[in-house]
Symmetry: C2
Subunit: 337 residues, 2 copies
């Protein structure tokens, strides 16, 4: 059994902030990442919460991310906000552009935020969630080092590239939040099986010739299986077009790994589209349509509405805090010295 | 063997136009649909080409679509073009908004076209293709009567809801064109197996309790299997949010069927996002990124680049025409009287 200690969300944010600063991150860059880490733990996505803090700190120290980066915002057209993350954390780059994105989307009905020279943005749905909180439909895309091969090929050309969509609800929470990668399973699961010396199920990964494998190490040298075959490749390509090509960021085929210390900054990208649903549904049917759609799912026993799991955890965490892995806390305390 | 006759693209357009008008469609509404029908045959997507003309004509005659509709465009915000298709054909509604959409996207860097009270738009990629020809990245969504159940449920809540993305190339043709539905297989394939009395493979459709079935009739009364399980449901929900909720169109759960003559107009929706890639990639890396991505796929033997199949057919059809099913031609000639 994993030993845990229960922390409040404030304690998680504070701990994350202090560790990032101790590792050499500027307070301006550490704060948005610390806030996101607490929100991620609140949502129950432990894999991307505090467990990532020691990795982020290591990446600041080895230069894979510039903890002191000063992202630069420009606005080439009225509907376009671009941010050069300057090889710093994605979170501060996104934060820099968000207010302008939201204002532009409200004024014009739609606006985009295009981020290059960036880094792993953690849970993508955290960022689209904030657009939904502002009453906008938020679409998000983020690319990753290549690990999925094209249909008929065997050499990876695109990452597990997630997309996310968050839909505003009537209670300040998203009515619907989808956040899914293009692969059958997260690459981190294959890496975990490799570390533990356990075989992986058929359908998770392919060898370097594109054949199914149950050996996680063979799979990591080959490629990740796309969800639903060629349609998963299509989703990964959609995300690559949006997050890498449209932003002018580094393609997955050229990006350095998100894990480990080698290769320098990945310089990958993020792309967000914010849409004002009141403007687009001139008949005013948006809120009613979403309510009916959500009801059609919730009214079926055991049917799963994307985002409901995270929402339930979020509500509970606000009052009960989050049980955090002691081993992770010890790593973070070592950074704090 | 199917008997065919080879027609030029002009002949296909002309034949489509005359049949639609003979059935009671106004020339203004018949023309964009006839042009799209020829382009669809040129791309080799015979299932959505001339074969649909008798169905369109029947739908005009039974009132499922209003052949004389006059779609209405409004522009509630600078980045938003809305069109009420007035229960007419989707093609004329899209045509009405396209020029304004393209101009707005070029001026502001991004714009959207939101269409309600619409109908089956045929091949979605035909419409995004035109945005790519204008030098824009085109994203498209269109919803359909519900046929996919939520994860954990068994009752359909969303259609096979495709999305499409078209990426401008340097030769006036899209460099990449993705157009895929959220189901494992097209519903029309299951219907075809039912007509022919053949079993369907496991994984295509589910019975009304959500269990796998090989009986196409049972599957048609149950639900279509989402591609890649819950991730296919996520893609279908994304499209439902964009094409139905954002537009104020009818949800898939309330829409009348696209086939047959019952139920009146489906009043479904389409949503398009047009993005200026020069504005969003301030470093100017867009064209180079797409070229590298496309090369990484084409350089692998047998690897499949989405859109390449249609492109090759299109090039051949321009000079060689298209072999068309004689039985379809006879149906159309009967309409012409």
């Amino acid at each position: 059994m994993t030993e845990t200690r229960t922390l409040t969300l404030n304690e998680i944010e504070d701990l994350s902030f202090r560790a990032l600063v101790a590792a050499g991150t500027s307070p301006e860059n550490a704060r948005p990442l610390a806030v996101a880490t607490a929100a991620t733990e609140a949502d129950g996505v432990a894999s991307h919460g505090l467990a990532y803090i020691p990795i982020y700190c290591e990446h600041v120290q080895c230069g894979k991310v510039d903890g002191l980066a000063k992202p630069v915002m420009t606005r080439p057209k009225s509907g376009v906000v671009t941010v050069d993350a300057a090889t710093g954390f994605a979170h501060s780059a996104i934060d820099l552009g968000y207010e302008t994105l939201i204002t532009a989307a409200r004024e014009q009905g739609v606006a985009v935020l295009s981020i290059c020279n960036s880094y792993n943005c953690g849970v993508l749905g955290y960022h689209t969630y904030r657009l939904a909180q502002a009453g906008l439909v938020g679409l998000g895309f983020t690319n990753a080092p290549a690990s999925i091969a094209p249909s008929g090929g065997a050499k990876p050309v695109v990452g597990t590239n997630p997309f996310s969509v968050a839909v505003p609800g009537t209670d300040g929470q998203p009515a619907l939040l989808i956040d899914q990668s293009a692969s059958t399973i997260a690459k981190s699961e294959v890496m975990k099986h490799a570390r533990e010396g356990r075989p992986i199920p058929v359908g998770w990964a392919l060898d370097s010739e594109g054949n199914p494998t149950t050996d996680p190490n063979v799979g990591l040298k080959g490629s990740m299986a796309p969800s639903g075959g060629y349609k998963g490749v299509g989703v990964a390509l959609l995300t690559e077009v949006m997050a890498a090509a449209l932003t002018g960021a580094t393609l997955g085929i050229n990006a350095s790994p998100f894990s480990g210390t080698a290769g320098g900054p990945p310089k990958t990208g993020q792309f967000f589209i914010a849409i004002d649903p009141v403007a687009t549904s001139s008949s005013g049917g948006f809120a009613q349509g979403i309510e009916e759609l959500v009801d059609a799912i919730r009214s079926q026993d055991d049917a799963h509405l994307p985002g409901d799991g995270r929402r339930a955890k979020r509500v509970a965490s606000a009052t009960q805090g989050v049980a955090v892995n002691i081993a992770t806390l010890e790593k973070i305390e070592a950074i704090l010295g």
